[in-house]
């Protein structure tokens, strides 16, 4: 094992591979910061370039883009309330309130440290446990996914900032948006309004851009420009109290993200959401959440980075892509004449271990890249909104367009941007909408598939142990939520006032 790891570092540290690792991490950071443009689009655009590279170099660069983007996606979420990647949606909830209180520096710093810790642990998980974990991931069939999503939806109220009813209503709206497109089981298209562009599902990037970036820009446009965020900057680095509050959240987030990342189809966003929920449940005073609780940044940010790494496990050990980005990397290897499969570790050990070693190196680079950048990000806020927002709009449109090369998607995002503006005027956070939009279709597809497998017999959910376990956990969460003690902490007097104060900045 140690011999293999040493060999991996030998491969990753050759000047060419080291350079491509840096290029990947750098590009990842860049697209991670830009709202709208994400790693999948970038990898797709760079695919032709990888023809000319060696297989190891191309996989090192492409994976660097992927985890680099997740590393940096929280930056704009914290600074501007616009997630750089959909996986950073939940970071907005507490990261941006921190920035409004002048604590953008600590928030960015903790998220960089959390990402780094999660990244390092993620690499160790891949190096030592990839094959058994991949086998475990295969145990998750349709009934298990159904149970996991039911658990996740049971906990959606954790995203509540002011009213539980609003949170549930927005989540349901998100689930409804998730039904647009072709029904997998019957082939019938739903809510397509005659547009062939709606035969596939609505695209997540478009929705995230619409409800966060477009809506935020639209509601800012109606306000006088204030620079109060800058006046209040209270230092760049986290205090000792911040570190004390966050280290456990970072470890918990890493564990959750590491676990969720192994499952194809769930990945970083759901991990981040799960980590947020857990942090809020475990906190001594959950009412701090939504108003700048540092655990609400540390947990989800670590989770999405750990998941971004363990998401590689099914690909590296079985040749099964866990998400669209991994499918693209498999394509890149295919073009090079390597067909990734269960024999990759034996047939191409230099590739397997080289990429893993490069991930660790890449995470070091990201930390070195990101920490000094914090000061610059904060200074970027000095750019007047009237100059910064048009630029962001342009990047958002490029990003939304390039997912499917469809102008239609940009128009659709603009339409949803208007809905998002109404949401923000009504004080509804769009985070539950995005979560509902992602979870809804996973739930529907897997519930119906599970019933296909069982011939319509619902007992399949309780006779398979993993599924039963998650369902019991979901029941426990619901019972816990209805306990009177918990409800009281949710309605602390003064809590609402604090929110309003933050919202006025």
């Amino acid at each position: 094992m140690l011999h293999s790891i040493a060999m991996g570092f030998g491969v990753a540290l050759t000047p060419t591979n080291f350079l491509y690792c840096f290029i990947g991490a750098f590009l990842g950071t860049l697209v991670g910061v830009l709202p709208g443009i994400g790693p999948i689009t970038t990898i797709a655009m760079l695919l032709p370039i990888t023809f000319k590279l060696s297989p190891v170099a191309s996989l090192i660069m492409l994976s660097g883009i992927y985890y680099g983007a997740h590393h940096a996606g929280s930056t704009t979420a914290i600074m501007l309330n616009m997630p750089g990647e959909p996986s950073s949606v939940v970071i907005c909830l507490d990261g941006h309130p921190m920035a409004r209180q002048g604590r953008a520096g600590p928030a960015l710093c903790i998220s960089a440290i959390g990402s780094f810790v999660a990244g390092c642990i993620g690499v160790i998980i891949i190096a030592f446990f990839a094959p058994p974990l991949a086998e475990l991931g295969l145990k998750f069939g349709a009934p298990e996914y159904t149970a996991v999503v039911i658990l996740a939806l049971a906990a959606v109220s954790a995203l509540t900032q002011r009213s539980l009813l609003t949170t549930l209503a927005t989540a349901v709206f998100g689930i409804l948006l998730g039904t647009v497109g072709t029904d997998v089981n019957s082939g019938v298209t739903r809510f397509d309004f005659g547009f062939p562009q709606l035969y596939e599902n609505l695209n997540l990037v478009g929705l995230a851009v619409a409800f966060f970036a477009f809506a935020e820009i639209a509601s800012r446009a109606g306000m006088a420009e204030t620079r109060r965020i800058l006046d209040k900057v209270k230092g760049l680095f986290p205090t000792r109290a911040d570190l004390r509050d966050s280290w456990k959240a970072i470890l918990r987030g890493t564990a959750l993200g590491g676990a969720f990342g192994i499952l194809p189809g769930t990945g970083p966003l759901i991990s981040a959401y799960a980590a947020y929920t857990v942090e809020k449940r475990l906190a001594a005073d959950p009412s701090r959440f939504g108003k700048g609780a540092i655990e609400g940044v540390a947990g989800p940010e670590s989770a999405n980075n750990a998941a971004a790494l363990t998401h590689f496990i099914p690909m590296l050990t079985l040749g099964i892509p866990a998400g669209p980005a991994q499918a693209l990397m498999i394509a890149a290897l295919t073009i090079q004449g390597i067909s990734p499969g269960p024999d990759m570790m034996d047939k191409h050990p230099e590739l397997f271990w080289g990429v893993i070693a490069s991930m660790w190196i890449g995470n070091m680079m990201l930390l070195v890249l990101n920490l000094p950048l914090i000061g610059i990000w904060i200074r970027l806020l000095r750019i007047p909104y009237r100059l910064m927002y048009p630029a962001i709009l342009v990047f958002c449109c490029i990003g939304v367009y390039s997912v499917n090369n469809e102008v239609f998607d940009v128009a659709l995002a603009a339409g949803f941007g208007f809905v998002g503006y109404v949401f923000s005027k009504l004080g509804c956070s769009p985070a539950p909408l995005i979560i509902g939009f992602i979870l809804g279709p996973i739930l529907e597809v897997n519930l119906r598939r599970a019933l296909l497998l069982s011939g319509g017999d619902f007992s399949i959910f309780v006779t398979r142990p993993i599924s039963l376990g998650f369902l019991l956990l979901a029941a426990a969460v619901l019972v816990f939520l209805s306990l009177p003690a918990f409800r009281r902490t949710q309605r602390l007097p003064g809590a609402d006032l604090a929110v309003d104060e933050a919202a006025e900045d």
Binding site: Y199, P264, R449, L453
Partner: protein, 329 residues
């Protein structure tokens, strides 16, 4: 000021004149050619397109850029090509699904007359399909599989990449020919991810799926291949018999890819494209990449043969699609 203005005008006209002249004289292609691929990047058709087009770029000296337009079973890409000017600068690389099944299955949803407005130019490659079963399936040959399924009607599940996809229709044909009764479990998002995981873990037990994606998993012993739907056995899997050998000629598809364009393309453009394409398929690089991924280059033949082939493929599916009531009215 005036002289300068006239000078500018003169320059513009001069430039326009050169442009017009070169448009008349330069042989095709004299600028970038856009090729639509009706899938997201990374799929088999996308890979075939990118490799072959890169070689065509080298031989024809102009860029051939791939634009991925995945929406709606290829309808969006097909309509865009049909509406393009037939000058050879907007083409499409489609496959069995988008250019044979979609025109039958989604005829009513298209705003164009596919038969009249799209012209097949040349076949490029094809990928064969295995009749597969999960590693723990209690059968070791196609015959044993058929016997097992018949002994357990309605219990075995087969995977496909969606209602009306060729893996679905192929299996419907095999079921009809043999009298098997199985449950269809469709997956969205192509052959990777979910489908692979469900087939490997045995939740779904069988399927007719492509050699390129599933071969490595068969080789690792996690799936079993009972038969292959191709004219000859696959060089990488010589132990797997063909469907014809096993007594099922005509059942099971090959996922072929081909170059298509708008109707009315000039003859010389078609000739240039066909020649460059054939040359590209003969380069060592294309041969190597195809071989390592179980992709077969389709060389020789004429445009007329390909046109007939595409039409025949569509007809082959029509009856099954009608019997299964798959057409969305």
């Amino acid at each position: 000021m005036k002289p300068i203005r006239y000078a500018c005008l003169g320059l513009i006209f001069f430039a326009l004149g050169i442009g017009a002249a070169s448009a008349q004289q330069a042989p095709y292609p004299d600028r970038t050619v856009k090729v639509l691929v009706p899938y997201n990047p990374g799929g088999a058709t996308d890979i075939v397109a990118r490799i072959v087009l890169d070689e065509m770029r080298k031989s024809l000296g102009q860029n051939f850029i791939v634009e991925n337009k995945a929406a709606a079973y290829g309808i969006v890409a097909i309509e865009e090509v049909a509406r393009a000017k037939p000058d050879g600068y907007m083409l499409m690389i489609g496959n069995i699904s988008t250019n044979s099944i979609t025109p039958v299955l989604h005829k009513n949803e298209m705003h164009i007359n596919y038969e009249k407005e799209i012209v097949p130019i040349s076949e490029i490659a094809s990928i064969s399909n295995f009749v597969l079963a999960t590693g723990a399936f209690p059968a070791n040959s196609l015959k044993e599989m058929i016997d097992y399924v018949k002994a357990h009607p309605g219990q075995v599940k087969y995977a496909s990449v969606g209602v009306g996809s060729y893996p679905h229709i192929d299996m419907l044909m095999l079921m009809k020919a043999t009298g098997m009764d199985m449950v269809h479990v469709p997956f969205a998002g192509g052959a990777g991810g979910d489908l692979m995981a469900n087939l490997v873990n045995g939740d779904v037990q069988v399927g007719i799926l492509n050699v390129a994606s599933f071969g490595p998993i068969v080789r690792a012993g996690k799936l079993k291949a009972f038969a292959v739907a191709s004219k000859m056995r696959q060089p990488d899997y010589p132990e797997v018999p063909t469907m014809t050998e096993l007594g099922f000629p005509g059942i099971g598809s090959e996922n072929w890819q081909g170059l298509f364009g708008p109707a009315g393309l000039p003859k010389d453009v078609i000739a240039t494209l066909r020649k460059a394409l054939q040359d590209a398929l003969k380069t060592q690089h294309v041969k190597d990449v195809f071989a390592s991924n179980s992709i077969t280059a389709v060389t020789g033949g004429t445009q007329e043969q390909f046109i007939q082939f595409v039409r025949h493929e569509g007809e082959r599916f029509t009856e099954t699609i009608r019997d299964a009531h798959l057409v969305v009215e």
